[in-house]
Each structure stands twice: as structure tokens, then as C-alpha cells.
């Protein structure tokens, strides 16, 4: 980028909203993905849609790459400015514009922190369900662009199930609206869904219309410990077959159990092959009934230990183990890869077994936990990225892991997105025809390839 481009950017957003010092640039060279870092030429934070549009027009006319950024917590190198250029920081657009109680929708800017939206609507008895592990820091824009999910995914789905409309700025600076407040809306291609999960490669999101849902009145949490992995798998299937869709249905494998126990001493048996944590929510009467049925399913499938939380304090205790999973694993070694391979839910035990044998074969440490109910697993690899020999084994293990997921009919990502991290396996999952179609969409909407170039669909 040249000096006059920087000056032009300063004209648009004001001097103080363009960062160019080496120190500031270095601070925007990374996101939460290990092993990716590249310096941008400038960090620009617009105040509104108009400024965003002007920045994009300038970038497009001069073929300057643009990497849109929320809080930079993504795990797929989505914000890393691999080709330099502009990091477009959206955090100043942070207003909740409207909470429409009659239509149960909220309209918000992309820089709003997801938890802040939830705080705002909690008093109205409403929730916005997508809740990634980072809800307290991630932006609405970032979660929509990543199609983020979370613990409640099984019952409530991921971001795309709640996004009703968007205002976006296209690569050339044009401002475009999609969807709206209509509950039923089948007019034209579903551009809202296309942009949700587009990971900053097709547009910059500047306004978001979300669906809100009534907060569940009651919740009930249960835990079951299994010495046999297959029994845990059967229990999951039995719960679903009993026509119960818990809000959460989490699993931890043996490696995770041992690490958590070592770190948080929550009282899990070290020889357990799986721990299931289940939470049902909704109407109090229904919740009681469902909890009973879940307990029956757990016992019928030979759970070695079951417990149901009587009150909030007990619920917190049950959750402690799951909450400790990532921290406990992350503390083992300097580098932590939280992967996101997903399989059909009846294949969860097969996948867990595959991961554990891949870990053994390659001599790497992998603990798997995740959302058993929707098959979204987080095999978490801990290693030291500074050890080249170890990293060779790690990459090989990753390769085998993703292949295993795809072979089981799974997908590369249940919620974290593709970015750069999972790009190498995209073709394997989707095949050349789909990849080509995706690239055509990219080229049509962003002909100069300035938006997050090289990510998600690769080089075009």
C-alpha cells in the first residue's frame, strides 16, 4: 500500500482510526488460530456503513486486500491478513439499534458483543441462542460471518437459524440489503444465508437482523459416566429416539477426563471412557418429564453412574467438568488447536475411537470433547509449535483425523468455519464441482478478489 492510500483512508475515517505503527500492526497480525501471523499495512476502523463503503471502494479500485475483523477470536485464521493490506476493524459499530418485541427481532451493528445483546434482552425474557465458547468477547458480526454455534446447538442450531436479514457492503463499496423482519420470506436466492458463514470473503456485514426466542423457563442438568464408549453412544441415540431434544448433550473422552480430573479434581473416575452431560430446558413440567426419560435412557444403556442436579449449585457443579475441558487441555502444552470436525451423531463413538488411535499412532496428545448430540466434536491437540519434529506428527494426525471424519460422512466444520485452517481438506469433502461453484460465487461478488483472499474457497 502506498502513502496516498493511507492518507485517503485517514480522510474517510479520521486520523485516529487508522493505525500504521509497527506495534499496532503487529497486534492485528494474528487471531486465535495457532501458527498464522502476517503484518497488515494498515488497521482501519470505520464508524458506520458509509465509511465502510468508502473504504471498500478505495480498496477495490486499488486492488488492496481487506481482512474484516471483529474480536479476532476465530480458530480458522479468518482475520489473518495473509497478503498485507487493510485489517478492517468493525468494533466501533457497536450499537443495538432496535429490539422489536412485536416481531421478536433485534437489529444490531456487527461490533456488538454477543453476550451484551443477551444481557440487553434478558430482562425481556428473550434469548439469542448462538453461544460460542467466546460469547463474552466475540462480536455479532464475527459470529454471523463464521456461522458460529455453541453449546445449545443441538436444540437451537447455529447462527444461520437466527439471521433474518443483513445489510452488507459488497467488495466494490455497494450497499445491499437482504431479508428483513418477515418470518416467511422466500423471495429470490437466499442471500442472507449465503452471507451468513461467508467468513469475510463475500462482503462486509454492517447490520444484522436477528430472530429472538423466549428464554426457557426451566433447566435441568444431568451427568452420566460410562466405562464403555459404545454404551455412551447408545445412550445418546436412545435419548434422541425417545424424541427428546436436549438443549445440550456434551461428551468428553477418556483423555479429556483424565486431564480435567488432574487439573480441577471434580471427582471423575480415571478409567471412564466417556462422560455425558445433558441439559433439558423449556416449560417446567415438560422439563421434569424429559429429565426423567433421559435418566431412564442413561440407565437402560448401562451408565455406570448418573446424577441429576437438584438446584443451581448442583447444576454448576456438573458443568464444572465440561467448563474445565479446554482450560485443562490448554494448560498441558504451549500450543492448542481446538479442532471442529463433525460427524453424524450415531458415528460419535467411531470417531472418538478413530481419534484416539490416530493420537497413539502419531504420538501426539489429543483430548476430545464436544457436542455429542449434534456430532460436533472438538478434538483438541496440544503441542509446541516451536518443535518442528513434533509438528510434523501433529499435521499428520490432523490430516488423518479430518479424513476419518469425512469418511464417516462428516464435515470439516460444525461451527468454527474453514478459513485457512481447514482449506486443505475442502476439495476432499466437497469435490471439484462444488468447489468450482463456490469459487464462481466468490468471483462474481468480488471480481478483484480483495475480500479475505485465499480463504474458505482458496485462490480463485
Amino acid at each position: 500500500m502506498e502513502k496516498h492510500h493511507i492518507n485517503a483512508l485517514k480522510e474517510i475515517v479520521g486520523e485516529e482510526n487508522v493505525l500504521t505503527s509497527a506495534e499496532d500492526l503487529y497486534c492485528y497480525s494474528y487471531d486465535a488460530t495457532p501458527g498464522h501471523s502476517h503484518m497488515p499495512d494498515a488497521v482501519v476502523s470505520p464508524a458506520n456503513t458509509m465509511e465502510t463503503s468508502q473504504i471498500l471502494k478505495l480498496a477495490n479500485d486499488n486492488c488492496i486486500p481487506v481482512y474484516t475483523r471483529g474480536s479476532g477470536t476465530n480458530l480458522s485464521a479468518g482475520c489473518v491478513p495473509t497478503k498485507g493490506g487493510i485489517v478492517l476493524l468493525m468494533t466501533r459499530l457497536n450499537k443495538i439499534l432496535e429490539v422489536d418485541l412485536e416481531n421478536l427481532v433485534a437489529v444490531a451493528e456487527p461490533g456488538v458483543i454477543v453476550a451484551d445483546l443477551n444481557k440487553e434482552i434478558a430482562t425481556l425474557g428473550l434469548i439469542y441462542p448462538p453461544d460460542p465458547g467466546t460469547v463474552a468477547t466475540a462480536t455479532l458480526g464475527g459470529t454471523v460471518a463464521e456461522n458460529a454455534g455453541g453449546l445449545r446447538g443441538l436444540k437451537y442450531g447455529v447462527s444461520k437459524h437466527y439471521i433474518m436479514g443483513l445489510e452488507v457492503v459488497l467488495a466494490n463499496g455497494d450497499i445491499m440489503n437482504t431479508g428483513g423482519k418477515n418470518v416467511k420470506d422466500v423471495s429470490g436466492y437466499d442471500m442472507t444465508k449465503l452471507f451468513t458463514g461467508s467468513e469475510g470473503t463475500l462482503c462486509v456485514i454492517t447490520k444484522i437482523i436477528t430472530k429472538l426466542v423466549p428464554a426457557p423457563e426451566a433447566k435441568k442438568a444431568m451427568m452420566a459416566i460410562f466405562k464403555d464408549l459404545d454404551n455412551a453412544g447408545k445412550a445418546v441415540s436412545a435419548i434422541i429416539a425417545a424424541k427428546i431434544i436436549p438443549a445440550t448433550l456434551e461428551i468428553m473422552d477418556n483423555a479429556t477426563i483424565r486431564t480435567v480430573e488432574d487439573y480441577a479434581k471434580v471427582g471423575l473416575p480415571l478409567d471412564a471412557q466417556a462422560v455425558l452431560l445433558i441439559e433439558v430446558d423449556g416449560n417446567p413440567i415438560v422439563v421434569e418429564k424429559e429429565a426423567e426419560k433421559v435418566m431412564e435412557a442413561l440407565k437402560a444403556n448401562h451408565a455406570d453412574f448418573v446424577q441429576i442436579a437438584k438446584d443451581d449449585a448442583e447444576r454448576d457443579k456438573l458443568w464444572a467438568a465440561r467448563r474445565a475441558a479446554l482450560p485443562a487441555l490448554a494448560k498441558l502444552r504451549p500450543t492448542t488447536y481446538v479442532e471442529d470436525a463433525t460427524v453424524p451423531r450415531n458415528k460419535v463413538p467411531d470417531f472418538l475411537r478413530a481419534v484416539s488411535s490416530i493420537a497413539k499412532a502419531n504420538n501426539v496428545t489429543i483430548g476430545t470433547f464436544g457436542h455429542a448430540g449434534d456430532g460436533n466434536m472438538h478434538p483438541t491437540i496440544v503441542c509446541d509449535i516451536r518443535q518442528p519434529e513434533e509438528m510434523k506428527r501433529v499435521y499428520k494426525a490432523m490430516d488423518e483425523m479430518f479424513s476419518a471424519a469425512i469418511e464417516l460422512g462428516g464435515t470439516l466444520s460444525g461451527e468454527h468455519g474453514i478459513g485457512l485452517g481447514k482449506l486443505p481438506w475442502m476439495e476432499q469433502q466437497h469435490g471439484p464441482v462444488t468447489m468450482n461453484a463456490m469459487k464462481s460465487i466468490k468471483r462474481a461478488l468480488d471480481p478483484n478478489l480483495i475480500l479475505n483472499p485465499g480463504k474458505l474457497v482458496g485462490e480463485c
Binding site: D24, Y26, Y30, P34, P327
Partner: protein, 439 residues
């Protein structure tokens, strides 16, 4: 001064300062969880302000990707050392301490902030320090306009390093330790404690010191205030000037070790933390000092903690204090020495006192020791959030357990035109004992 000092230059001077940080920094997984809690980031909104950014900058310097520049110093200085990031971090990265290490490197490279340099030079000379602060106490009334009814005053003339409008505590005309004999005797004492007054209580908030002495006397405890004690060195340490901090620490340790007290008490979370955590840390590789500091560390207590956990005060002697109180937890109480229950228990045992919790009692007030000296505007913004939280409780006054917090809260209450007082927890307990006598 040149802008091109590299990690290599520093490491040539001091082989260990930055190099052994590498492993600690590698443990940061850049998850950004610290963004949620960092009060500085909430105001500044830039990555360089949050722990993740600061740790990355250190990494960058170590890798040689960026120089150890003035901008690096500035980034490191924008931290109130509130420890919120460390408490939040899923990977157990002690970010606040690592940032201090970054400051040390910066200080090594280019010296201290000029104002701090002056203040710290003064601090190191105990007699001169004592003399100047006493002079300030005597001539203080000329310089400060007293705010009616409160331990607060407004600087009339700009002081070096002080914002013109800023409310500070008046310097005492007679420092606490000059108001009393060194040993304050009681009949048949049940124990002997040494009182580490810290500089704030000795020179400014003598009212807190008086309350501590009254309360200990009520509990039949003999108190000694060693006359040669000096500032604990926390502000110096926090600014990255470790060598000076060690001088102050060593002095205090040697002074207190002479007396062989049953316990050492202080009425400030930071002072307690200094004795309990920082001193042993500073001397971890000097066997004689290490043994001494560890011995002292074990018997050091913050006053509320001491009264509740060790003394187990007799609550039947307490009389009514009819007021509504909310409590601010100083960072170094909440996350440093992890004492939050005891001050609440003290307040809740006072008859007539209505205790209301604010929403985020342990969120930093923005004072951050000497942080507010160099970053007053920023520290005010952080403080405004605290004041709003206090205001929303409708309490008559806010209690806390740290002098610098009290001062910063007073300033904030004044700037926000709230007619409320800020007191130390122990002052309310003292009032309650006095009311008890009148019963």
C-alpha cells in the same frame, strides 16, 4: 533517544530479562478471553491495550519482528495491573506479571517516565521522603482547598504529575506514626502485632490508621508501628523499576524481622500482597532473604482478614451505625491475596448497617497505584464506570480496603458530583465499637 533498541541489545545487557519469558508467552493461546475483563481495553478499544496484544508485542520484540520502541513502552504502561486477565485466562497465563516484565525491559532500555523518576528517587531516601511528605502536610493547606466534611482536597495549584482538577487526600499535618508512641500497650495483651502502615495511611489517611489502632485495642492486642518502616515499594515495582523495589523491600523485611511479632497487619490489600507474595518472589534466589521473607509472609494479614480469621472478634460489643453501605473490592484484595469475604463479614456484623452489593464490586476502580499518575484521563474513564455502579446501589457511602482506591473513588465521586463519602471498612467497624460504648 533512539527508537531502535532491540531485544538483542537488551539481552546483551541482561541475559535473563526477556529471554526466559519466551515459554511463558508461548502459553498464551490468543483466545482473547482477557478482552472481556480488561478495563483498559474496554476504554481504549485497541488490541495493544488488552493482555493478548501486550503479550504478543513482547513476543514480537523477542522474535525481533518489532523494536523495543517508545510505542512499546506506552503499550506496556497502559495496564492498571488489576489482574483481571490473569484470573480469567483459561491457560493460566500470568499476564499481569508478564506485562510488568515488559515494563522492566522498557525501563532498562530507556528509563522511567520523568515524573515517576522524580517520585521514586524521593521514595528511595526514607528520611528525605518522610521530611517532604511532612512538609506537604504542614504546608498542604496552602496548596489544597479542603472539601468540607471529607478526607479530600482539591489541588489549587498544579502539582507535578497531578491533574489540576484532581481530588487527593490532604497530607496529614502530623503523620500517623508521629501521633503515637512506637508501641501502643494494652493490659495483658492477647497478642503482639506489628502494624505496617504503608505510606498512604501514614502520611494521608491517618484516620484509617487511627481506626486500626482503636479496633485492635478494643480486641486487647498490643500494636507496634516500627518507626523505621518505609513504603512497601509496590508502585516502584509496578513501574518496572525492580532494583529500587528490592531496596525498599529488603529494608522493610529487615526492620520487621527484628521485632519477632506474633502477626503483622496492614490495612491495605497491596501492602499485604507485597509482604505475602511479592517480597518472597523478589528474593526467591537469595536464600537468607528468602527464609526471612517467607517467615514474615506467613504471619502477615490484611486487617479485616485478621479480625475475622485470626482474632475472631466479639460481635456483641458492636453498636449501631445506621447507614447504607456498598463495598468496592480492591484488585489486589480480590485477585492478589483473594480476600473478599472478610470485609463483607465485618460490614455485615455491624448492627444498623445495611449492606448492598454493587453489580461488579471487584472491577478495577482505575487507580492502579501509580498508573493514574501517568494516565489520569484513562484512569478517570475507568473510574466513571465504577462510580456509576456505586451510584446505582443508592448506598450512602462506599467502603473499601485500600488507600489509593479510596482516594480515586473520592476523586470520582467528586468529579461525578455525587455527595457520597468513601471510607475504609475498618473505619465503620471503629464507629461501631464507639457506638457500642455509648450503649
Amino acid at each position: 533517544m533512539t527508537d531502535k533498541i532491540t531485544a538483542k541489545d537488551i539481552n546483551e545487557q541482561d541475559k535473563t530479562l526477556l529471554a526466559d519469558l519466551q515459554d511463558a508467552l508461548a502459553n498464551c493461546m490468543k483466545c482473547g478471553n482477557c478482552m472481556e475483563v480488561c478495563p483498559v481495553y474496554k476504554e481504549v478499544g485497541k488490541e495493544a491495550a488488552v493482555a493478548r496484544g501486550k503479550l504478543s508485542l513482547m513476543e514480537g520484540v523477542l522474535k525481533g519482528a518489532i523494536p523495543l520502541s517508545a510505542a512499546f513502552d506506552t503499550a506496556m504502561s497502559k495496564c492498571v495491573s488489576c489482574k483481571a486477565c490473569t484470573a480469567k485466562c483459561p491457560c493460566g497465563v500470568p499476564a499481569d506479571e508478564l506485562i510488568l516484565r515488559g515494563r522492566q525491559a522498557a525501563v532498562k532500555a530507556r528509563g522511567l517516565h520523568p515524573i515517576k523518576k522524580k517520585v521514586f528517587a524521593l521514595l528511595k531516601n526514607r528520611q528525605l521522603f518522610d521530611f517532604s511528605l511532612r512538609m506537604a502536610g504542614i504546608f498542604g493547606p496552602l496548596n489544597f482547598k479542603k472539601l468540607p466534611g471529607k478526607m479530600a482536597s482539591l489541588a489549587r495549584f498544579p502539582m507535578p504529575g497531578m491533574d489540576y482538577k484532581r481530588v487527593t487526600a490532604p497530607f496529614a499535618s502530623t503523620p500517623l506514626r508521629n501521633q503515637y508512641p512506637e508501641v501502643i500497650k494494652v493490659d495483658k495483651p492477647k497478642m503482639r502485632v506489628g502494624f505496617f502502615t504503608g505510606c498512604t495511611i501514614n502520611y494521608m489517611y491517618t484516620d484509617v490508621g487511627q481506626s486500626v489502632l482503636n479496633v485492635l485495642k478494643e480486641n486487647n492486642i498490643e500494636v507496634t508501628m516500627p518507626s523505621l518502616q518505609h513504603c512497601c515499594g509496590t508502585p516502584v515495582y509496578m513501574s518496572g523499576d525492580v532494583d529500587s523495589a528490592k531496596i525498599l523491600a529488603k529494608h522493610n523485611i529487615e526492620v520487621f524481622d527484628e521485632y519477632n511479632f506474633d502477626y503483622i497487619v496492614s490495612a491495605c490489600g497491596s501492602c499485604t500482597e507485597a509482604f505475602r507474595i511479592e517480597f518472597p518472589h523478589l528474593f526467591h534466589d537469595e536464600p537468607r532473604m528468602k527464609e526471612m521473607t517467607e517467615r514474615l509472609a506467613k504471619k502477615t494479614y490484611e486487617i479485616s482478614e485478621f479480625l475475622i480469621d485470626v482474632v475472631k472478634i466479639d460481635k456483641s460489643k458492636l453498636g449501631p451505625v445506621n447507614t447504607t453501605v456498598t463495598l468496592h473490592d480492591p484488585c489486589h484484595m480480590a485477585r492478589g491475596i483473594k480476600v473478599t469475604k472478610q470485609p463483607r463479614e465485618v460490614l455485615k456484623s455491624i448492627p444498623g448497617l445495611k449492606f448492598v452489593e454493587m453489580k461488579q464490586p471487584d472491577r478495577c476502580c482505575g487507580s492502579g497505584g501509580s498508573f493514574s499518575l501517568g494516565n489520569y484521563e484513562l484512569s478517570r474513564k475507568i473510574n466513571d464506570k465504577k462510580i456509576a455502579d456505586i451510584a446505582s446501589t443508592n448506598a450512602d457511602l462506599v467502603a473499601t480496603s485500600c488507600g489509593t482506591c479510596r482516594m480515586h473513588l473520592m476523586d470520582g465521586l467528586h468529579q461525578n458530583k455525587l455527595d457520597k463519602n468513601a471510607l475504609h471498612v475498618i473505619q465503620l467497624l471503629d464507629q461501631s465499637y464507639q457506638a457500642g460504648h455509648k450503649k
